[in-house]
């Protein structure tokens, strides 16, 4: 028994006003909590070039508090750079190392973040990488980001980073004038806390024993009338469903007519006209026929080859504990669902009309059952499978099984090049604007490269490009017989011709935000990153995914 002075001390101890760091990050902690923040504070970001787009991306990563960023860029600030980049000091920066100026001004945004300017010539560094440890160096970063990188360097870099799936993901950002696209090269990305807005099943159609027992124990007809108006709808529905099944060969309402008459049954249980808990039960009645079986998106995760070792050999699964923890948990979940037919229960209840006492009682029933089912998962994982995962990850996993996500990434360029170009060909049919924009940016990359124009430095005069050159480059990547959608292509190519090397401040800022959002999702493993290539058109103001 705790006496009141103990309570008071406990409250004051953890109720102290948050420290400065918590206050500074308050508005983001409300999105990704301390776990996400901890991941951000360990992240090391490498960015090639310090273009306006690059510094815009970094700004949105330095502010939330990454551990470290390096800008790799040996170029000196040109007058052109000084005009469009907020992280250069106008004419005063001209002639200085662009990376050093940008790092200095970006680091001012957050004292907790370490910034480093690396002014080595990265063309030489990357192309001779085999000899000078470029792989090891790159693998020291959490994520690598490039903007408008020369085509040959981009290919080299993406090959190096794709080589080993422990190497950092590569974010490739391209822009010209009002048009842009970006995608993330990664092998696989797993998400437990996806924050997807689907609520877990309350399992009313298949109530667990303690809940069913409680619902059946209530003497609805004779209990105090106030208490009657305070029974949570979950309990009412479980009770009504049991009553219904007794009358209907143990079957749940299936047809429209049955569902309607089930609702009338709920309504007829009222003892007073205005019992709001019964009204709520009626409006939530659909939960009785929403099956608590395992959602197909989750079932599909079980087809991962790492989970399909023959079950006979499971106990002896030599390498099970060496699987990534997420997949150990997924295997345990698979076995759990095969035995039970549902996902582990979560203890989060929505609010509902009820007295405090009844609500807390129901909450405790759910909590106890959720603990039991979690213990079952843990038991499968550790005792049956010989797995090894820390408890806090197990907790998070079990709470989020209804919204787990596994993304399979692809190598940079795979979209246009693989399957003999079939992917881009079908995208041109289904989303011609998006596909044409993506193809146009690739064609531009090609043409600029062939002209020997390095997009690393903005320098007047802008290169002259013709629509024919772009069209030729685009056609070269398409499989025979596939044609460009004329209207969309002309709109894209004309716009690229107009502004082939323009890193517009607004486009840069918008990409800075979009890319930083994705990087944060990758780093925190919370929320769901983009699956595919994101295309941006700032003339009509849309984004699309191909």
């Amino acid at each position: 028994m705790i006496n009141s002075s103990d309570v008071q001390t406990a409250i004051v101890a953890d109720g102290a006003v948050p420290d400065n760091k918590t206050r500074r990050y308050d508005r983001q902690l409300r999105l990704w909590a301390t776990s996400g923040q901890a991941a951000i504070e360990q992240a090391r970001i490498l960015v090639l070039s310090s273009s306006a787009t690059s510094t815009s991306i970094l700004k949105n990563l330095v502010l939330p508090g990454i551990s470290h960023f390096t800008i790799l860029d040996h170029s000196l600030v040109t007058p052109e750079d000084a005009g469009n980049n907020f992280f250069l000091e106008g004419p005063e920066s001209i002639g200085k190392y662009r990376a050093q100026e940008a790092v200095r001004l970006l680091a001012e945004l957050n004292e907790e973040v370490e910034g480093r300017a690396d002014t080595r010539n990265f063309r030489e560094f990357l192309l001779n990488g085999e000899n000078n440890g470029v792989r090891e160096w790159l693998s020291g970063y959490t994520i690598v980001i490039v903007h408008n990188l020369d085509k040959d360097l981009l290919e080299t870099l993406s090959n190096i980073l794709w080589h080993d799936d422990s190497f950092p993901p590569l974010v490739v950002v391209r822009s010209a004038g009002f048009l842009a696209d970006f995608s993330i090269q990664f092998h696989e990305h797993t998400v437990i806390e996806s924050h997807i807005e689907t609520s877990p099943s309350l399992r009313i159609d298949n109530a667990f024993p303690a809940l069913k027992e409680y619902a059946l124990s209530l003497d609805l007809d004779n209990m105090d009338i106030t208490d009657h108006g305070h029974i949570p709808y979950v309990v009412l529905l479980v009770r009504a469903l049991e009553d219904w099944k007794k009358e209907h060969n143990n079957l749940q309402p299936k047809t429209y007519a049955e569902k309607q008459s089930f609702k009338s049954l709920v309504s007829s249980m009222k003892r007073k006209l205005d019992e709001e808990n019964f009204e709520e039960a009626e409006s939530q009645a659909y939960r009785c026929w929403t099956s608590s079986s395992v959602p197909s998106e989750i079932v599909s995760l079980f087809s991962d080859s790492r989970l399909s070792a023959p079950s006979a050999s499971l106990p002896a699964f030599a390498s099970f504990a060496s699987l990534p923890p997420f997949f150990q948990l997924l295997k345990a979940l698979q076995i759990f669902t095969e035995r039970n037919g549902y996902l582990p229960l979560t203890s989060t209840l929505p609010d509902m009309r009820s007295s405090t006492e009844e609500y807390v009682r129901l909450q405790n029933l759910y909590k106890r059952r959720a603990e039991e089912e979690k213990a079952e998962v843990k038991n499968i994982l550790i005792d049956e499978l010989g797995g090894k995962v820390d408890d806090s990850m197990l907790d998070d996993f079990v709470k989020n099984t209804h919204r787990l996500k596994v993304l399979k990434g692809r190598k940079w360029g795979a979209f246009v090049h693989s399957n003999g170009g079939q992917l881009i060909a079908s995208a041109l049919e289904t989303s011609p604007k998006q596909a044409a924009t993506h193809l146009g940016l690739s064609a531009l990359e090609d043409v600029l490269f062939k002209k020997g124009y390095s997009s690393l430095h903005g320098k007047a005069p802008a290169p002259q490009i013709t629509i024919e050159e772009l069209t030729e480059a685009a056609k070269a990547t398409l499989p025979p017989g596939v044609t460009l959608p004329e209207t969309e292509w002309n709109e894209v190519a004309g716009e690229l011709m107009r502004a082939p090397t323009a890193d517009l401040p607004n486009t840069a800022a918008l990409l800075g935000g979009l890319v930083a959002q994705e990087v944060i999702k990758m780093i925190t493993k919370q929320y769901v990153p983009v699956d595919g290539c994101c295309v941006v058109d700032l003339i009509e103001t849309w984004t699309g995914i191909i």
Binding site: I11, D14, G15, A16, V17, P18, N20, T22, R24, Y25, D26, R27, Q28, R30, L31, G65, E80, G83, N84, F86, G90, E108, N110, G177, H230, D351, S354, S355, T356, Y359, V360, K459, A460, A462, N490, E491, G494, E495, R498, A499, T501, A502, L504, P505, N506, L510, G513, L514, A516, Q517, I520, Y527, V530, L538, I539, E540, T541, W542, T543, I545
Partner: protein
């Protein structure tokens, strides 16, 4: 340094400064309006003539100011009534720890002028309502980066009212942005021509309001305990002393009071941070989302000011929680919009409904959103919330049936202090 290459040179411009932007301004694209006059004329307008107002120097405002300055707007004004708080520093990137407590508008203006040579940013530390139509008339464009619905309704109604059919200059495009977590929206409003802010009020998320009886008698969630502490206990214990949600000591008191109640009712989950979140109605905010929405607003401003490309028609919505999802669409004007529609709002009520009931209905209506409405007809006052004498005089009407006071098809004028205009209701009875 003076530029040689761009015709209308101004001091501070250096050769190559506008290399990136001039690629757009020197030539048309395939989707550019034929009226676009590429070259010196449009540059001169953008850099020497255009005058733009930014409302809000917070999360969106900081980004907006930086973008506008870099795109070449030279005469920028900014209004903000707030001072800098430490919790702004995770995204309001023009502010530093040493600036905490200073006015946002002033610090932001100084920073921009220091960083981007040749730009003049004129700050006003105060409320938008302090300024009159003459003030707003001087701008070509207005961009709004606000977190207050009330302020947005005010500026929207003000700009719609300013439109004078005889004077095309009186139509001021309003670009409005808003964010919440990984989500946001940007829109272009051409007052009286496109749908206005008021037209889309029903798209706002309804604020969760907890019934007072739940708070008082049957708390179930930690939020219920916090509301109990702030709505019921604070006035009971502290009497007239006003609660200041920016005062950490006040939050601590609320937190402790809510915690005690939660303990008593076996409710888990009251924390200091949740307490602060509930009483201040804190909306999560991050730099990246603000960057997206601010850039989109500024991009529309740039396109409208230069005609270099078509502008957004008229609503862009972005959701970044599950991949990158966005939706661009034309929000339709509402014929019965109380600000830009001109038609009275039709309302059908029971002939038995008392005035009090009508007031409740109005307060609940999502597309109207008023707190304390006063009602009158052309020739009589039905109920006035203030001043006290008139409130007392009209109070007996509260229990009368509306049908006793207003004939079928009659109009009721609704006003409220939170409403920058009056609303006409056409009443029919069932």
């Amino acid at each position: 340094m003076i530029s040689q290459s761009n015709g209308f040179a101004t001091p501070h411009d250096w050769a190559g400064r506008y290399y990136h932007i001039d690629q757009i301004l020197d030539a048309s694209g395939p989707r550019t309006d034929p009226a676009f006059s590429a070259g010196d004329e449009v540059k001169d307008f953008l850099r020497n003539k255009a005058k733009i107002l930014v409302i809000g120097a917070g999360g969106l405002g900081c980004e907006i100011l930086a973008n506008l300055a870099l795109t070449g707007f030279k005469d920028i004004h900014v209004i903000d009534m707030d001072t800098i708080d430490i919790s702004n520093l995770n995204r309001q990137f023009l502010f530093r720890q040493k600036d905490v407590g200073k006015p946002k508008a002033i610090v932001a203006a100084e920073f921009i002028m220091k960083r981007v040579p040749g730009v003049t940013v004129t700050p006003y530390f105060g409320k938008i309502q302090d300024k009159d139509e003459d003030y707003y008339m001087q701008f070509n464009l207005i961009i709004c980066g606000l977190d207050s619905v009330e302020a947005r309704r005010w500026i929207n109604a003000t700009l719609v009212n300013m439109v004078d059919g005889e004077n095309p200059e009186s139509l001021k495009p309003l670009i409005d942005g808003g964010t919440e977590g990984f989500k946001g929206q940007a829109r272009v409003i051409l007052p009286t021509i496109t749908s206005c802010y008021e037209c889309s009020l029903d798209m706002l998320n309804k604020q969760t309001a907890f019934p007072i009886c739940t708070i008082a008698n049957t708390p179930r969630l930690p939020e219920h305990c916090i509301e109990w502490a702030s709505v019921l206990e604070w006035p009971r214990v502290h009497g007239e002393k006003k609660m200041d949600t920016d005062d950490p000591e006040h939050i601590t008191w609320l937190y402790q009071t809510a915690s005690k109640r939660a303990k008593e009712f076996n409710i888990e989950g009251v924390t200091w941070s949740l307490t602060q979140g509930v009483v201040k109605n804190i909306i999560p905010a991050i730099a990246s989302t603000n960057a997206i929405i601010a850039a989109s607003c500024c991009n529309e401003a740039f396109k409208i000011a230069t005609s270099s490309a078509a502008y957004l028609n008229n609503y862009f919505m972005l959701i970044g929680t599950d991949g990158v999802y966005s939706y661009t669409f034309e929000h339709e004007k509402r014929a019965d919009c109380p600000v830009c529609g001109g038609e009275a709002v039709d309302m059908s009520i029971s002939s038995e409904l008392p005035v009090e009931g009508l007031i409740d209905l109005l307060v609940e209506k999502q597309d109207i959103q008023i707190k304390k409405p006063s009602l009158s007809t052309a020739n009589k006052q039905i109920y006035l919330q203030a001043p006290p004498q008139l409130e007392a005089a009209t109070r007996p009407n509260l229990s009368k049936k509306v049908s006793e006071l207003v004939p079928p098809g009659g109009e009721i004028t609704v006003t409220a202090s939170t409403l920058p205009f009056s609303l006409s209701l056409r009443i029919t009875y069932t």
